[in-house]
Structure formats: structure tokens, C-alpha cells
């Protein structure tokens, strides 16, 4: 089966071609075609996963064709199947398929229906390439491809100025990251002489620490862009302009985690340059708390989730930074389940409210009390929220807890502290969202009320599937903590961080504690304390949300009055967009206009000036002719004038002038004969 890995991206490609070229023919069937293709891909993925999980595993390269050769550089299009890519394939193909099916319902009746599914399949194609590539350049192809699809899908409703702006912003910010990625790629090639994983990792132990750190940091710039970390996270909240399935698939479950995947994939290089890891850990932690704090006060349901995604990605990078690579990938997987579910649930709510005024469809202040009208959506969202908040035994608990424990036991106490604070905020804002949307009195516009009903099965079935995964997706592969199945499975693909001996120690402790806990006894070890603390934080956050938004609904307003500055700061996202606009975008605009002026006036001016000078020289040499020139020079400005005058001097068009000059010539010749 593994031999047929090339089939995986082939099906979405077929979907792209069918829907893209025959869009007008397939019309309403486009969704089915695309879903079928995603489903076929998923089948192949499942077949491969079965072999990988039940069989001996290992690492398999499936060559397809040689792409670029130039001197000593050789890059081929070939696919790598190993435990890490198997996990990623499962996530991408699985969540991707579910969201394809969901989109059939959600996008029904949109004028761009075939176009939407073309883009969606194109995204699948690129994302699969990204995770299956066996070398960095092919990964970069997928990397750029998903960026392109993100651009196309965010700007899907292109007639909306804000949507096309958001798409453009996403692409350009991503490109900034890509520039770093590319530089890292060049550095890898220059230092190791290859771009394929196998050879790079073989050469990695010989890399000097500064070189490895440089590679790591450059690649991380790429990851910052794609995975929305500080300072390049600004595009992700804006990306919510796209259709909701897109937000779920691209901006929650798959694409944004590409950076995490890349760092995990490059772990053999990263462990050679611990400096880069420290930076990653810190950036991750800062991003986690920074965006979680913004998420506390947002009113747009999708924006809350967007900031939550940024924050959770911060958690994943924290894991990478502290050397807990497997935990990071684990969190990536569980996050794909519950965050995808949260977005799809939000989509379901928005879908139900599509008769409300446009400005209110996504605003939680105009929702409330939807629980009874949409029970399936409600319960699914609750499961996802519990998973996100980190309440055992839901999926998020296992992975998030591993990350925090990893940070603590590797001695990154600051990172751990920030992460724990972010976890508290996470639990708070997600339940704030649940309570504002589904509980309390209904604040929906009166005209829209009678139209609210549960979404069709094509949308709720995917919700249920993801809800089940959000419940069991953590405990099955992740129990006991730090020693679960997923760690064993991923171990061959990931490097172990040296200098993180404390981590191993911590792992041992936690393992023992968990076993002890499972047996119903054992207290006092640090591991147990951490777990208890994490649970307490999650429940505390939920309780706080409950108190503020259900019991004492005046509390938020009170706090708002008490801390107006802080509230405005958070509501306006720390004014980061405005700062970027003022410090980067505007200067570039000014620079480009100034350069254009420079080009017109100085560079071109020099050219025209030299022609002006030439004309002047010819005028001086033609001074005797000046008397006879018709009309002489009237001081017309403009360069055309100068050129035409140049020709006027030379050619008056008067035969007699020419003859006169000829006569002068004869005169000179005779003079020369006379006076030689």
C-alpha cells in the first residue's frame, strides 16, 4: 500500500482538474466530486496508516520523478511515509474529508460553488504535498501552495473589499515568513549539500551549534508566518473573512499547524542548536498568552476562535521549544479535532442565523439561548470547549498537560507560568463563548428567530464525528501521559533533545505518578501536583465564565468600567495592526512613491538632461545656422520639444540652407588648398 502513496495527492489533483475545467458542467455536483476525491485520498491514507501502525513502521521513500538538477543540487519529487507523516496524513485527510462533506451543506447555493471546491481540493493537494514531501523544497512547494489556497479562499467572496484585503494580507505576511524559510533552506543546502530529509539529518550531527541555530531561526521565521506566531500572527484573525469551513480546515486544523510540523520534522537539526529552541519556546509562550488575552473580550464568535487558534499554536511551539516534540504533534492532532469542531459548530450557528442582519450573524452579543433550538450543535460544541479548556478526559487535557509538564520539568519555569496563565484564559473565553451563544436569553433579531433551526445532517454528521474524536482522541493515543502510544509511534521520526535530561526525569516521575493515580493512590509528587493544578485552572476558568456571564451578567460591564484602558487595549488587539500599518506599511508606501519620483525626476531626468545637453552642443555647433532657422527657439518646455528642435537645427527643410552650407564647405576646402 505504501508504494501507492503517490495516489494520495493524485485524487485531489483530479478533483481540481474536474471542478476547475468543467466547473460550469458539474455545477451542483462539484461538492460531491470534491468530497469523493478527498474520501478516496482518505482511504489510501487509512490503508497506509494500517500498515504503518500494525506493521513494522519504519521510513519509506516513494520516488516519483526528478524535479530539478543543477550542478550539485538535485531535488526530486518523492514522498516520505514515516510515523510523523502518517499522523499528519491522518489529520489532514481525515479532518479534510469531514470538512469537505460539511461544506456541501454550508456552501449550498453559493454562486461560486464549483470554484470553492476547486480551491478546497487544491488546498488538500498542497497540504498533502507539504506533509508527504521527502525534502525541504517539495515541502516548500506545498507550503506556498497552501498559502495560495489560503489567499484564494480567504478572498473567496472577492466582491467584499475586506475579504480580498484579508487574503492579500495573509499571503504577504506569509511571504515574509517564506523569505526566512527560503533563506534557511539555502543555508541547509550550503552547509549539508542536500535538501532531502534523510541526508540533511545524516549530516546534522556534524553541524556547529551556531550554524544549526541559524538554520533553526530562519526556518522558524517561516513557521511564524504560516503558524501565526508573534510578530507575524496578524493575518490569522483577519482570515476569518473566509467561509467558515475554510476557517476550520485551513486556519485551525491543518495549514496553520504546518509550521509546527516543520519544526518537528527538522528536530534533528534543532537539537544541535538549542538557542533556536529557546527562542521558539519563548515566542510560543508569549503568543499563547498574548492572543488568549485578546480572545477574552472579542465579541465576534469567529474572532474568539481565531485568537484561540493563535494561542493554541503558541502552545504547540512551546512544546517544540522545550524539546517535547511528540507532545507538540499530539497537541496538533487533538487541536485539529476540537478546533475544527469549534469552527464547524460556529459555522452551524452562523448558518442558522443567516436571516439576521449581516453585522449580527457572527456577533455573540446578538445570540444567546440557542441551546434548545440547536441541540446537536450545542452538545458537540460543549465537548469541543471542554477539550479546549483541558478538562479530563477530553482530548485537549492530555496533550496540553503534557506540554506544560514538559516545560516545567525541562526547567522553563517562565514558559510554564505563561502557559498556565494562558490555559486559565482559554478555559474562560471558550466558555464565555458557549454561555453567550447558547445560554441566557435570546437576543437574536426578531425577524431571524423563526428561521433558526438545526443544520441538515450533512453538516451535523461531521460535527458528531469530530465530537467523538474530541472526546476519545486524547485519551486513546495519549494515556498514560508522556508514555502513551503516540510517543512510541513517533519516536523514530523525532530527535531527542539533549540537555533536556531533566525532561526524561520528569517523564519518569509523571509516568509513575500517573500509574499510581490510575491505581487510585499516590500523592505528593510534582507530576500529580501539576495535573491537579491544570485541572483546577481549567475548572476555575469555566467557573469564572459561568459567574460572569450566567449568574451575574452585569459583571462584565462593571469590569469594563473599572478598567476602561485595559479593556480598550484588549478589544483593539493591542493596536498591533495599527502599529504595523504606521511603522511598516505606510513607510513602504511612502518609500515607493518617493522612489518613483526619484525615478522620474532624477534617473530619467539624468537621461533627458544628457539629451538636453546634446541638443545644446548641437545648437552651439549650429550657431551659424541659427539665423536662418524659421521661428528660432521659442522656449517651449518639454522633452519632445527638445528632440524636435534637435532636428530643426539639423534640418531646416530648406534646400537653400543646405546649399549654402555646401558652398561654405567648398570655401573651406579651397581655403585648405590655398593655405596648406
Amino acid at each position: 500500500m505504501i508504494r501507492y502513496a503517490w495516489l494520495i495527492p493524485l485524487f485531489p489533483l483530479a478533483g481540481v482538474l474536474i471542478n476547475g475545467l468543467l466547473g460550469s458542467r458539474v455545477r451542483d455536483k462539484a461538492g460531491h466530486v470534491a468530497s469523493l476525491m478527498a474520501g478516496l485520498s482518505l482511504l489510501v491514507v487509512l490503508g497506509i496508516a494500517r500498515e504503518m501502525i500494525l506493521g513494522p513502521g519504519g521510513s519509506h521513500v516513494v520516488p516519483v520523478w526528478t524535479w530539478i538538477t543543477a550542478g550539485s543540487l538535485s531535488v526530486s519529487v518523492s514522498f516520505l511515509v514515516d510515523p510523523l507523516s502518517t499522523i499528519m496524513l491522518l489529520v489532514v485527510a481525515g479532518v479534510g474529508f469531514v470538512i469537505h462533506v460539511y461544506s456541501i451543506g454550508y456552501m449550498h447555493g453559493d454562486p461560486g460553488y464549483p470554484r470553492f471546491f476547486t480551491y478546497l481540493n487544491l488546498f488538500m493537494l498542497s497540504m498533502l504535498l507539504l506533509v508527504m514531501a521527502d525534502n525541504y523544497l517539495l515541502m516548500f512547494v506545498g507550503w506556498e501552495g497552501v498559502g495560495l489556497c489560503s489567499y484564494l479562499l480567504i478572498g473567496f467572496w472577492y466582491e467584499k473589499q475586506s475579504a480580498s484585503d484579508a487574503g492579500k494580507k495573509a499571503f504577504i505576511v506569509n511571504r515574509i515568513g517564506d523569505a526566512g524559510f527560503l533563506l534557511g533552506l539555502f543555508l541547509i543546502w550550503t552547509l549539508t549539500g542536500s535538501l532531502s530529509y534523510a541526508e540533511v539529518f545524516k549530516a546534522a550531527p556534524q553541524l556547529a551549534a551556531p550554524a544549526a541555530t541559524a538554520i533553526g531561526l530562519l526556518l522558524f521565521i517561516g513557521a511564524m508566518g504560516k503558524s501565526a506566531q508573534i510578530p507575524l500572527y496578524v493575518w490569522l484573525p483577519d482570515a476569518m473573512e473566509g467561509p467558515t469551513p475554510v476557517s476550520a480546515l485551513i486556519h485551525a486544523a491543518t495549514m496553520v499547524t504546518a509550521g509546527v510540523y516543520m519544526v518537528a520534522r527538522t528536530s534533528p537539526v534543532y537539537v544541535q542548536g538549542p538557542g533556536a529552541l529557546e527562542v521558539i519556546a519563548l515566542v510560543g509562550a508569549l503568543t499563547a498568552i498574548f492572543s488568549a488575552s485578546i480572545g477574552l473580550v472579542q465579541n465576534d464568535i469567529k474572532r474568539v476562535m481565531a485568537y484561540s487558534t493563535v494561542s493554541q499554536l503558541g502552545f504547540m511551539f512551546m512544546a517544540m521549544g522545550v524539546g517535547a516534540f511528540a507532545s507538540g504533534i499530539f497537541h496538533l492532532m487533538t487541536h485539529a479535532f476540537f478546533k475544527g469542531l469549534l469552527f464547524l459548530g460556529a459555522g452551524s450557528v452562523i448558518h442558522a442565523l443567516h436571516h439576521a442582519p449581516a453585522a449580527q450573524q457572527q456577533d455573540m452579543r446578538y445570540m444567546g439561548g440557542l441551546r434548545s433550538k440547536m441541540p446537536v450543535t450545542y452538545w458537540c460544541l460543549v465537548a469541543a470547549a471542554l477539550a479546549l479548556a483541558g478538562v479530563p478526559p477530553f482530548a485537549g487535557f492530555w496533550s496540553k498537560d503534557e506540554i506544560l509538564a514538559g516545560a516545567f520539568f525541562s526547567g522553563h519555569y517562565v514558559v510554564w507560568g505563561l502557559g498556565t496563565a494562558a490555559a486559565l484564559m482559554t478555559a474562560f473565553y471558550v466558555f464565555r463563548m458557549i454561555f453567550m451563544t447558547f445560554h441566557g436569553e435570546m437576543r437574536v433579531d426578531h425577524h431571524a428567530r423563526e428561521h433558526i433551526r438545526e443544520s441538515p445532517a450533512v453538516m451535523t454528521v461531521p460535527l458528531v464525528i469530530l465530537a467523538v474524536l474530541s472526546v476519545v482522541g486524547g485519551v486513546l493515543p495519549g494515556f498514560p501521559p508522556d508514555a502513551g502510544w503516540i510517543h512510541k509511534f513517533l519516536a523514530p521520526s523525532l530527535a531527542k533533545a539533549p540537555g533536556h535530561a531533566a525532561l526524561d526525569e520528569g517523564v519518569r516521575v509523571v509516568k509513575a505518578a500517573a500509574q499510581a493515580g490510575a491505581q487510585g493512590g499516590g500523592h505528593g509528587t510534582a507530576g500529580i501536583a501539576l495535573i491537579v493544578l491544570a485541572i483546577a485552572v481549567a475548572l476555575g476558568g469555566i467557573a469564572l465564565a459561568w459567574r460572569m456571564y450566567l449568574r451575574d451578567t452585569a459583571a462584565p460591564a462593571r469590569l469594563e468600567r473599572r478598567f476602561p484602558g485595559l479593556y480598550r487595549l484588549l478589544l483593539n488587539k493591542y493596536y498591533v495592526d495599527e502599529i504595523y500599518q504606521a511603522c511598516i506599511v505606510e513607510p513602504i508606501y511612502r518609500l515607493m512613491r518617493a522612489l518613483f519620483d526619484f525615478d522620474q525626476k532624477v534617473v530619467d531626468g539624468a537621461v533627458n538632461g544628457s539629451s538636453f545637453l546634446t541638443v545644446w552642443f548641437s545648437r552651439i555647433s549650429g550657431i551659424f545656422d541659427l539665423r536662418t532657422v524659421d521661428g528660432a527657439v521659442n522656449g517651449t518646455a518639454g522633452v519632445i520639444g527638445f528632440f524636435s528642435q534637435l532636428f530643426k537645427f539639423i534640418q531646416s527643410g530648406m534646400v537653400q540652407n543646405y546649399l549654402f552650407v555646401m558652398l561654405l564647405g567648398v570655401f573651406l576646402m579651397v581655403s585648405a588648398y590655398l593655405f596648406r
Binding site: F647, Q651, S652, G653, M654, V655, Q656, L659, F660, L663
Partner: protein
């Protein structure tokens, strides 16, 4: 026998009179007439040289010059007639069709 220099001087004087006419007059016909004068001044020199060196080539060339003069007159006058007919122009300094 008339010295060669006399022929040459006469030719030069006529040539310069003709050239001055070409350069100074505005009337196109006057210019053509002056050109005829210049051509004839050349003929005088040719004949002078033929006489001096007892060589008929000079006279032969004079015949050719006359032939060319006839051509020139025919074409030049044709141009003048058509110009005069189309544009009512006689003066050369108003004709600047050569100007781009």
C-alpha cells in the same frame, strides 16, 4: 591663343554668379535659371581644357552636361508646375517638405 586661365577665370566668375543667384533668390524659376548658368560655366571650363590639351574628352563631357541640364530643366520645371498648381507657391523658402 587665349590662355587657359582666362577660360578658368570666366568659368569661375559665371559659376559664382550662378551660385549667388541660387542662394539669394527666392523665386524657384530664378534658381533653376541660375543653375543653368552654373552648368554652362562648367562647360566653358571643359571646353577651355579641351582646347588647352587638344583632347576631345572635354567637349564630350560638355555634351553630356547639356544632356543632364536638359533633364534637370525638364524635371525641375515639372515639379514647379505641379507645385504652382497645387499650392500656388513660387518661392523656395516656403517649400519645406523635406522638413520632418
Amino acid at each position: 591663343m587665349v590662355p587657359l586661365t582666362h577660360y578658368l577665370a570666366l568659368g569661375a566668375i559665371l559659376f559664382l554668379i550662378g551660385a549667388a543667384g541660387v542662394l539669394m533668390r527666392r523665386n524657384a524659376i530664378m534658381i533653376l535659371l541660375s543653375i543653368e548658368l552654373m552648368l554652362n560655366s562648367v562647360n566653358i571650363t571643359f571646353v577651355g581644357f579641351a582646347r588647352q590639351w587638344a583632347d576631345l574628352t572635354g567637349q564630350v563631357f560638355a555634351i553630356f552636361v547639356i544632356a543632364v541640364a536638359a533633364c534637370e530643366a525638364a524635371v525641375g520645371l515639372a515639379i514647379l508646375i505641379s507645385l504652382n498648381r497645387d499650392r500656388q507657391m513660387m518661392n523656395v523658402d516656403e517649400i519645406n517638405l523635406l522638413k520632418w
